[in-house]
């Protein structure tokens, strides 16, 4: 069974092939640029949106997909923005800044998550000192998710929850018992998985393998995107 819950869109574009470390460098530069870009004048933010548009085109993501994914944020971005219109000038400016920057950051993350498998990011995160432990935990969560998806599909009650027209009582009771049953099974399974780790030599930390060196041209591409973003985002401050 393949995962159907992540945002990765299969493809072979230059962005898909770009090393994830280079993408993180590019994203970091872009996020800083977003913070630096003023709300007024608006053209630096527009320029950053144009950069994102180029990225989306290069990744062959399609406008429909972008609209569908960003559309989910309409409420959380739109409502505060609309409410701010009724406030004082500082509140209105704050609302504009909030909406603009939220959209920029959301679009940037959309580009990253659509062109990078979560497993690739986590595989790398595990190897990083300090955050390696969190990366390992995230990797375990991801693995656990795929196992649980299989278990949920096999649990009879999940079908009752999906029955159209099921009464609220059935839905609540079904979801509750399914969750508790899953928790119990998860705990029992975790004992076995923990034992499996120890039997294969786990001694308190996941064994870390050295990452492949980052190819120079990927590194250059990542930095180029970051630097251009920073220039675009901050240029109005010098002019």
């Amino acid at each position: 069974m393949t995962s159907s819950v992540d945002l990765y869109v299969r493809g072979n574009s230059p962005l898909h092939r770009l090393d994830v470390r280079a993408k993180v460098i590019a994203l970091t530069g872009f996020l800083i640029a977003t913070i630096l870009a003023p709300t007024r004048p608006i053209w630096p933010s527009v320029a950053l949106f144009v950069m994102l548009g180029i990225g989306i085109a290069v990744a062959h993501l399609g406008l429909e997909l972008v609209v569908k994914r960003l559309g989910g944020l309409t409420l959380v971005i739109g409502v505060p923005f609309l409410l701010s219109r009724f406030g004082s000038l500082p509140t209105q400016l704050a609302g504009e800044m909030f909406a603009l920057k939220s959209l920029l950051v959301a679009s940037a993350f959309l580009l990253l998550t659509s062109t990078t498998r979560a497993e690739t990011v986590l595989d790398l995160a595990v190897r990083v000192p300090v955050v390696g432990g969190l990366g390992a935990l995230a990797a375990f969560i991801l693995r656990g998710m795929h196992v649980l998806i299989g278990e949920v599909m096999r649990t009879n009650r999940s079908w009752a929850l999906r029955a159209p027209g099921a009464s609220l009582k059935v839905k609540v009771s079904g979801l509750t018992s399914a969750s508790i049953s899953l928790l119990g099974r998860a705990a029992a399974r975790s004992e076995r998985v923990g034992a499996a780790m120890v039997l294969r030599g786990f001694d308190g930390a996941l064994p870390v393998s050295v990452a492949d060196p980052l190819p120079r041209h990927h590194l250059a591409a990542g930095f180029a995107i970051a630097i251009v973003s920073l220039l675009v985002g901050s240029i109005s401050r010098w002019l």
Binding site: V5, D6, L7, G72, L73, V76, P80, G87, S88, P90, T91, A94, G95, M97, F98, K101, S102, L103, L104, V105, A106, F109, L110, T113, A118, V121, G133, L134, L137, A138, F140, I141, L142, R143, G144, M145, V147, L148, V152, L161, R162, K171, L175, S179, I180, L182, L183, G184, A186, A187, A188, S190, E191, V193, G194, A195, M197, V198, D203, G204
Partner: protein, 186 residues
């Protein structure tokens, strides 16, 4: 005959249990959304993190709370990273998980008391965030309105946590007696 060094095996089992509870933290919100039940109302992500808080040590429970919203944001887009709902939830659940663990496993308070402390810590984080954001965006209205609104809106989620978390902890402690023993032994 000797047995396995308990610390390594316990650590492995904790990591594994945290992984599976975190996975539930990813899947339950998906299930709730599929049924059309709002995440802000029922707080489905909070439930496994709270249960994890009662069953895991504080550092791993806190890590779980930190990771799950961020991982969910990256994998599914919800909660969103921008606006910073996911980062705020990450801090909220980090505190909630850690407080639940500290209160139940370290201080050995009754589960109801630990649950209440965890809920209060969650609301305090929301209040602090609301004040902080109000300052940052220079919003003149009292931020307590938003905090009060968020808490009121999510009362079904609070009830769900109060009802199900203790039951879930009992179910798991029965399936894995070692967890209850570890708490008693401390």
């Amino acid at each position: 005959m000797s047995k396995v060094r308990p610390d390594t095996l316990s650590k492995a089992r904790e990591l594994s249990l945290a992984g599976l509870l975190g996975a539930l933290g990813l899947l339950l919100p998906i299930g709730f959304h599929a049924l059309g039940w709002g995440g802000k109302i029922f707080l489905p992500m909070h439930l496994p993190i709270l249960v994890g808080g009662f069953l895991l040590n504080a550092s791993i429970a806190g890590s779980l709370g930190l990771i799950v919203p961020l991982l969910s944001a990256v994998l599914t887009g919800m909660p969103p990273l921008a606006p910073p709902v996911a980062p705020l939830m990450a801090i909220e659940l980090l505190i909630k998980g850690s407080v639940a663990s500290f209160a139940y496993r370290r201080l050995r308070l009754p589960l109801a008391a630990a649950l209440l402390l965890a809920l209060i810590s969650d609301w305090l984080v929301l209040a602090l965030a609301a004040f902080g954001l109000a300052e940052f965006f220079r919003i003149e209205d009292s931020p307590l309105i938003y905090v009060g609104g968020a808490i009121a809106l999510s009362w079904p989620g609070t009830v769900l946590q109060a009802a199900i978390a203790p039951l879930a902890v009992r179910v798991i402690e029965q399936r894995v007696p070692r967890l209850a023993e570890a708490r008693r032994r401390r």
